[in-house]
């Protein structure tokens, strides 16, 4: 395990990270170029940018589902690999990715089962998690019996069931309609407060990024890189009224212009 002295306080520490797919072949793609990013514990960070900007790639590097080509990446002061073995993060994909053969309760229990928690703890924890995402009473349902928004809430409950310090979300509400998405955003902020986790949230919705995050990482494609990091000073707790604040609109405009600038640089 690689302990690094200067970044122990960081939930995420990335320095000169590159990710190149198919290096030294015709199909070489520089997915990420010179990424530098740090995140403090408890932050809510959004990665935003057009498709091909490497936002999902960065998330998958953090999750150790792929490995960086070069550079330093540490999660909670450890290598991503060690942090995955330590079960430091919970993952939420764009599709809810529930196992259709398991009831809702059993889906939330899945990580606990894999990690060898005793049965009573599993059931208890899964019930608490379903309560947190306001789905108590749906434990015996099968995933197909739930709406898309409800399925995604189950997926969040599952990701947090083993109390990871980090929640990684890859366009989790991208497939939902606007109204459901806004409700889910509110819900996610509430859960973020309750569960006390660091969130890394990939999205291509500007309004979603501004409403949720404490910092917004603006990325641009070919090669994928970070062009700006916007500090979002909108006060928490945020609610529907937040969307009416002048500062909200200003930040949305700021991010939109940064995305446009990044695009024009090409």
């Amino acid at each position: 395990m690689a302990e690094v002295k200067n970044d122990e306080q960081h939930a995420i520490f990335a320095e000169n990270v590159y990710k190149i797919f198919n290096p030294k072949t015709e199909n070489e793609v520089v997915a990420l170029e010179d990424v530098n990013l740090t995140a403090q514990p408890g932050e809510f960070i959004s990665l935003i940018g057009p498709s091909g900007c490497g936002k999902s790639t960065l998330l998958r590097l953090i999750a150790d589902l792929i490995t960086p080509t070069s550079g330093t990446l540490h999660i909670n002061g450890k290598t991503p690999h060690q942090s995955r073995l330590d079960r430091d993060y919970g993952m939420v994909f764009q599709a809810a990715t529930l196992y259709q053969w398991r009831s809702v309760q059993k889906n939330v229990e899945l990580p606990l089962e894999i990690m060898g928690y005793p049965n009573t703890v599993r059931q208890q924890r899964a019930r608490e998690m379903l309560e947190m995402v306001e789905l108590e009473g749906f434990g015996k349902h099968y995933p197909w019996q739930l709406s898309g928004g409800m399925q995604q809430r189950v997926s969040i409950a599952r990701a947090l069931a083993f109390e990871p310090s980090l929640l990684l979300m890859d366009e989790p509400f991208g497939a939902l309609d606007e109204f459901t998405r806004e409700r889910m955003n509110m819900e996610l902020l509430r859960i973020w407060r309750t569960a006390n986790v660091t969130v890394v949230f990939v999205t291509h919705s500007i309004s979603e990024a501004v409403f949720l995050s404490s910092r917004i990482v603006v990325m641009s494609p070919r090669p994928g890189r970070i062009t700006n990091i916007v500090n979002n000073t909108l006060p928490y707790p945020r609610d529907n009224d937040t969307r009416e604040l002048p500062q909200y609109f200003q930040t949305v405009t700021e991010v939109r212009e940064l995305l446009r600038d990044a695009h024009e640089v090409e």
């Binding site: 073995l85 990715t97 196992y99 197909w144």
Partner: protein, 281 residues
């Protein structure tokens, strides 16, 4: 797809009427076909060795049932049915278990899967029934094992191929989820690959169950004890009692249907989550 939460809340008379409405067309078609068969054979005066009347087949059945019920005598038809049933079932169980087992072993190592699958697929297109005389030679023509062996080989390949598919064609994100939990290969197998393979296995069993009966009966055509359906059919046909041969054909069909229905019931028990998706078919 319906978002129904009250699958079985209807009262009994409602359920009964629903069942009647559901099955009525099927029953009417069956009765209609039998009536048409009977009247066409009568009107056109078709010889019984070409196509016996259903009523004649029915009366042959009654004879056999009376023989069965009479403790003094024996019914060759029902003895033959029992023998063929055991051969088909034995072969089905052995062949499918072996298929699933081999799939579990090979799917563990991608290299082995990739090396063996082309052969399995090739073997699956070989008319294995052609080996029946050889199996008769190996195990003895009157030994039921010779028929079970043929049935086993016939059902082995579709079961193995489908199971391997089910174990390996896993949704990419469902697999990444397991990696995110740092799950061991064994836990991935148990909690993801095997449940994922169940629908594939059951669709293989749906194919294998009628195949097992075809295998047993056709293997018996190549020779076997008198009291087996295949031998019964060939003997009665060569003795020109075609109505009696037909009773054996009906029994063989009934065994096939009973296998199929058993698979469907097992499917509902082992895959309760699948039921709703199926009921909308």
């Amino acid at each position: 797809m319906e978002k129904s939460k009250s699958i079985s809340e209807a009262t009994f008379p409602e359920q009964f009427m629903k069942a009647v409405r559901y099955y009525l067309p099927t029953i009417m078609v069956a009765v209609g076909v039998l009536l048409a068969w009977e009247s066409l054979v009568t009107v056109f005066d078709i010889q019984q060795f070409l196509l016996p009347k259903p009523s004649l087949i029915g009366s042959r059945f009654m004879t056999e049932i009376n023989l069965l019920l009479d403790s003094e005598s024996r019914s060759l038809l029902f003895e033959a049915t029992g023998a063929t049933f055991r051969e088909a079932l034995g072969g089905l169980v052995i062949g499918c278990s072996a298929g699933i087992l081999v799939a579990l072993i090979t799917a563990r190592w991608t290299v082995i899967t990739e090396a063996t699958m082309p052969f399995a697929i090739a073997a699956n297109s070989v008319p294995i029934i052609a080996f029946a005389p050889i199996m008769n030679n190996w195990f003895g023509i009157t030994n039921p094992v010779s028929k079970m062996a043929i049935v086993s080989i016939i059902v082995f390949f579709p079961t193995m191929i489908n199971t391997v598919r089910g174990l390996t064609l896993v949704d990419e994100h469902e697999l990444e989820l397991m990696h995110s939990y740092a799950a061991s290969p064994f836990k991935i197998l148990r909690s993801l690959r095997i449940p994922n393979a169940l629908p594939y296995i059951f669709s293989a069993l749906r194919v294998a169950s009628p195949l097992s009966l075809i295998g047993a009966v056709v293997a018996e055509f190549f020779g076997g004890p008198r009291a087996t359906l295949g031998v019964f059919i060939t003997q009665e046909a060569s003795g020109f009692d075609f109505a009696r041969a037909w009773t054996a054909i009906v029994m063989a069909s009934l065994i096939g249907i009973s296998f199929y229905v058993t698979v469907l019931i097992a499917e509902r028990i082992f895959m309760p989550w699948h039921q709703a998706e199926q009921s909308s078919d």
